[in-house]
């Protein structure tokens, strides 16, 4: 079993603690994405798994073997760097063969594996070229090819798409997804700050913030049932609207008052002792729709900005939350003018409630 | 922490690195350290012992005679003679003595020695002695004994005093300053203007001039000396002035330093953000104003780098000084003086080491205080990829 187990992993640089007690179990063959804002520690965590950074305390196990003290080349990992890290003075072939040559594999074996990898990534016509004669996307594929040639148990990706332009990013993302399918027994750990990559590639997503794990789960699970305010706002674009509220009454259903005075009933069971407590109400922009005449609504507000994108209309509603407009994402071209006062509603099962510490009250 | 544990923490490979670098640094420091220590030593010590022993006391053998008797003092049947064998208060101490020259350290000090014939001698470390005999002293000359002496290390500034006054190093120092300072400052101005023109102005022949400048950096000075010397002589004859003057050497150093100066400064000025210069142009500033008010202040690091380079180069130069300033004794610069001393005072290491150290003192001070700029100057245009 070539899964990974991270037990209470911590990292400090001198007096500064960067990672605080990470516990994680990754099954073999899983595609796990570490995602989070800059500085959350995701790259550090990846580099610790690779062996490029020392683990301050805690245990890292790969394939059942504790590898804290094992050098990177012996951990059964391969890494794809953000800047590709190709050896600029070697041809594509030599770049991919380098690791095997160090390990003194036979020439025939090296050739077989290099050509096989080149074949998968359509690099065969470029084998004799130098990296500087390749485009960014091709270089990234060579970096992936080099990793494949190591025949690793765990594939590590450190923000591999950040240096590519938008169109190339989509194409390469699809290639990585296909790669994952061709290698079902290889575990893949992928670091990114882009939640689109996370949502599309991952079997499970690990959301990190300031050295802590905020939530681990399948993409849709994170989308539909975020465990706290941080995850709720991180996943989804534009971010979920958060409106301050007060819990009026707990129980099988909960009644809250939104800022602005409107009373809303939620299908969320809460402890009756929570009555009177402050809370945060959440609803995603894409779940909001314009309320018809006479229909029950969540809130009413003035449209401050209208952005017509063709496929959606973004409406910025002011007045409810101080300094922050509420955003509604209406499909198609909405016939709404700036300055109009409109009412908005959303399906009851799409409503979120977070307690005063930011934890979701959804069970 | 336990030494073994600490070593294991650092790791053996790392330890080897530390030690290797330490060995290398010591090797590199040793030569300079040698003359520095030597220049401060007493010249007699210098001539007989290696400078690495300078801090330890040196041991010598000396022969002295005890007194002849004079007015012997009688103490209860014994004739006693006292005195001191060490004549100068030289800080020397006696560590042992002997009665035969082959064994100058046979006997301990402080303990009375039975010399036979009823004579006893007690010698102390500071040289005072007590000589007892049961009969009057009758030797015509004092008894001879052999002392093993230790002298503490002596350090002195005497060598420097000698060198600065008598050997003319002081004069040469002034000469070096006279040559170097103008030859550092004037090239900066001329080269800065030229560098700006080559960096940011458009005109035909620009690439050609840049190529010429790069090529000239490499031209050996030897190619310039003969015709220039003739030219100077001819000008001297024509105008009735001496051919070897400070003005001549200033111009020579300025010109010889020009290619590198223009190269270094141009590289830097070219790297300045284009937008700053363009926005100044849009604001209506002429090239002259742009240069003086914007480019020159921004180029300070490059100017400093070149200044240090040029300073060290001119201060340490020997060839150009010998050719353009001549070898008359009071016209010599420090390098020339040192060279002459090697010839005339080749064996007097106390003079050579002190002179050498004076020569290198100013460059070393400049180096250590402004190293950063020197390094940056070296790196300009030198770092290239594979």
């Amino acid at each position: 079993m070539a899964g990974l187990v991270l037990k209470d992993i911590r990292k400090s640089y001198g007096a500064v603690d960067v990672l605080h007690g990470i516990d994680l179990e990754i099954a073999q063959g899983e595609f796990v994405v570490f995602v989070g804002p800059s500085g959350c520690g995701k790259s550090t965590l990846l580099r610790m798994i690779a062996g490029l950074e020392e683990i301050s305390s805690g245990d890292l196990t790969i394939g059942g073997q504790r590898v804290n003290e094992v050098p990177p080349s012996r951990r059964g990992i391969a890494m794809v760097f953000q800047s590709y890290a190709l050896y600029p003075h070697m041809t594509v072939y030599d770049n991919m063969a380098f690791g095997m040559r160090i390990a003194k594999e036979s020439k025939t074996e090296i050739d077989r594996r290099v050509r096989a990898a080149a074949d998968i990534l359509q690099l065969t016509p470029y084998l004799e070229r130098l990296p500087k004669a390749l485009s960014g996307g091709q270089r990234q594929r060579v970096a992936i090819g080099r990793a494949i040639c190591r025949d690793p148990k765990v594939f590590l990706f450190d923000e591999p798409l950040s240096n590519l332009d938008a169109a190339l990013r989509v194409a390469t993302r699809i290639e990585i997804a296909k790669l994952n399918e061709t290698m079902p027994d290889t575990t893949m750990i992928y670091v990114t700050h882009d939640q689109v990559e996370a949502m599309t590639l991952a079997d499970r997503i690990v959301v990190l913030s300031a050295g802590h794990i905020e939530q681990v789960g399948a993409p849709l699970e994170l989308y539909e049932r975020p465990a706290n305010l941080f995850v709720a706002r991180f996943i989804g674009s534009p971010a979920m609207n958060i409106i301050p509220a007060k819990i009026e009454q707990g129980g099988a259903t909960t009644v809250i008052t939104l800022a602005g005075g409107k009373s809303v009933t939620l299908d969320i069971a809460t402890d009756t002792a929570l009555a009177g407590e402050a809370a945060s109400f959440g609803v995603r922009p894409e779940d909001l729709s314009l309320a018809d005449e006479g229909e029950d609504y969540l809130f009413e507000g003035e449209i401050v900005i209208v952005e017509q994108l063709g496929e959606v209309t973004l409406l910025y509603i002011g007045g409810l939350v101080e300094n922050e407009p509420i955003i509604a994402k209406i499909p198609g071209i909405a016939d709404v003018q700036k300055g109009q006062k409109m009412r908005f509603t959303a399906p009851r099962r799409k409503l979120h409630l977070f307690d005063k510490t930011g934890l979701s009250l959804l069970k | 922490m336990d030494m073994a544990l600490r070593l294991r923490r650092i790791g053996l490979p790392r330890l080897i690195v530390h030690i290797s670098v330490l060995v290398i640094v010591l090797l590199w420091l040793l030569p300079t350290l040698g003359i520095m220590v030597s220049s401060l030593r007493d010249k007699n010590q210098l001539a007989v012992s290696g400078w690495w022993t300078a801090l330890s006391t040196s041991t010598r053998t000396e022969a002295v005679r005890l007194g002849t008797g004079g007015a012997p003092v009688q103490e209860g049947g014994l004739y006693v003679m006292t005195g001191n064998v060490l004549t100068e208060a030289s800080g020397k101490t006696i560590t042992a003595f002997g009665t035969r020259i082959q064994e100058p350290a046979a006997h301990k000090i402080g303990e009375p020695l039975d010399l036979g014939d009823g004579e006893t001698l007690k010698l102390s470390a500071d040289g005072s002695y007590r000589y007892e005999k049961n009969a009057p002293f009758d030797a015509a000359r004092g008894k001879r004994i052999y002392l093993t002496l230790t002298t503490p290390p002596e350090f002195t500034f005497d060598n420097y005093r000698t060198v600065v006054n008598a050997e003319g190093i002081g004069r040469s120092f002034i000469n070096s300053l006279t040559v170097t300072i103008p030859a550092t400052i004037i090239p900066i101005l001329i080269a800065a203007f030229a560098a700006y023109a080559l960096a940011w102005m458009q005109f035909p022949g620009r690439t050609l001039i840049i190529a010429m400048v790069v090529g000239l950096i490499v031209v050996p000075l030897q190619m310039s000396l003969i015709p220039l010397l003739r030219m100077y002589n001819e000008i001297g004859l024509l105008f009735g002035v001496p051919s070897k003057t400070y003005a001549g050497i200033w111009l020579a150093h300025t010109a010889f330093g020009m290619p590198l100066a223009i190269f270094l400064l141009r590289n830097y000025i070219v790297g300045l953000p284009r937008e700053i210069i363009e926005s100044a142009r849009v604001d209506g500033a002429s090239d002259f104003e742009i240069f003086v008010k914007i480019v020159l202040p921004l180029s300070f690091p490059a100017l400093a780098s070149f200044a240090i380079f040029q300073f060290l180069w001119v201060w340490n130069d020997l060839l150009i000084a010998m050719v353009f300033l001549g070898t008359a004794k009071d016209q010599l610069v420090l390098t020339g003086s040192l060279n002459a001393l090697l010839g005339s005072r080749g064996g007097n290491w106390e003079i050579l080491t002190a002179s050498a150290f004076i020569t290198i003192l100013v460059p070393l001070i400049v180096f250590f205080s402004l190293q950063r700029y020197l390094v940056r100057g070296l790196l300009a245009g030198s770092v290239k990829g594979g």
């Binding site: - | 030569p31 102005m201 340490n316 390094v375 070296l378 030198s382």
Partner: protein, 337 residues
């Protein structure tokens, strides 16, 4: 003495003021000659254009003048002089060069120069590289580098005194004050007059230049090493390469260009250098090199400009390939502007 200092300061101030005055006045004059009147766009453009054509030459003028007089003209003149006799009056064709090829001192110098060229650049580059790599990994690396670099600030003459002291010779059995002989004697060997040893004395002289120039190589190579993307080294670590393999297969190939620059720069210095041989041996004991030989002939017997010019030209020819390479490199970069 104070008179000298005062006059030196005076000249400096005058010189600097003169420079400033030249630049300022000439530019002002240009602006006067080509006015840029407000209102009349066409006349203004013409004025600006004219200024832009003349001004670069104002900026460049003094520099180009100095370069031409002190470098370009002499190079050509020396070249021509090499075809003339000792006083420069009679044309003698190639006879100076023919003489050189026969002259024993000249052949010895060529041999020695080849020795110097083979050993010194290689040694400096190699040691510089090794020290750069080693010092980058320890916390006191910068101090160490500083100390290795320090000899560069010392004049060649000063360095020669320092090393002459190291090489000092006393008779066998006596206390040695030169550290090299002291070490040799300590280990039971006989002290030698190092700078007079046949053939090997060249290497003892070379040691001086290596001592001085290794710091230069080290500083530049250290910067180049730091420019290597850290991730290529990390990738090699993951690929299983050890320190030695990483050094030779990943790091050195990526700084090849810089190594070439260091090598060629030191090569040129070796060809030009004259102070070390002059002060240590003055060419005796077969240590003569071309630069010293040339200097010798400049003044020997009243000076033989033909012969010394010929030697200078030969030094120049040795330097030529590097000069061409440098110019091509610089042109390729200047093209971006």
């Amino acid at each position: 003495m104070t008179g000298q200092i005062v006059s030196a300061i005076g000249v400096m101030i005058v010189g600097v003021l003169a420079c400033i005055a030249y630049f300022y006045l000439s530019n002002k004059l240009l602006d006067l000659v080509f006015p840029v009147p407000d209102g009349n766009v066409e006349a203004a453009s013409k004025g600006l254009r004219r200024r832009a054509i003349v001004r670069p030459w104002l900026f460049l003028g003094p520099a180009v003048l100095l370069l031409t007089v002190y470098l370009v003209y002499p190079v050509i003149a020396t070249f021509i002089l090499s075809f003339y006799n000792r006083t420069g009056e009679d044309f003698v064709g190639f006879s100076n060069y023919q003489w050189a090829l026969q002259d024993r001192d000249f052949r010895q110098s060529i041999f020695n120069n080849i020795l110097w060229l083979a050993v010194v650049p290689a040694a400096c580059t190699f040691f510089g590289l090794v020290i750069a790599v080693l010092t980058d990994r320890i916390w006191w690396g910068n101090i160490a580098k500083s100390l290795v670099f320090m000899p560069m600030a010392i004049s060649f003459v000063g360095a020669s005194v320092i090393w002459k002291f190291i090489y000092d010779y006393r008779a066998n059995g006596e206390t040695q004050i030169g550290i090299l002989n002291a070490v040799v004697q300590f280990f039971g060997g006989n002290p030698e007059v190092w700078i007079a040893m046949p053939f090997w004395n060249n290497f003892f002289l070379m040691a001086i230049l290596i001592w001085i120039q290794t710091g230069f190589a080290m500083v530049i190579l250290s910067a180049a090493l730091r420019g290597i993307p850290e991730e290529t080294i990390e990738a090699a670590v993951i690929d299983g390469a050890n320190g030695w393999q990483i050094f030779w297969k990943i790091m050195v190939p990526q700084i090849w260009g810089t190594i070439a620059v260091v090598w060629t720069t030191i090569t040129i210095l070796v060809l030009k250098i004259f102070d070390i041989v002059l002060t240590m041996t003055n060419g005796q004991w077969n240590t003569m090199v071309l630069a010293n030989l040339m200097f010798d002939w400049m003044f020997r017997g009243g000076g033989d400009s033909g012969r010394s010019a010929a030697i200078a030209v030969i030094i120049m020819i040795a330097v030529l390939p590097i000069m061409v390479w440098n110019i091509r490199r610089a042109s390729r970069e200047a093209e971006g502007h």
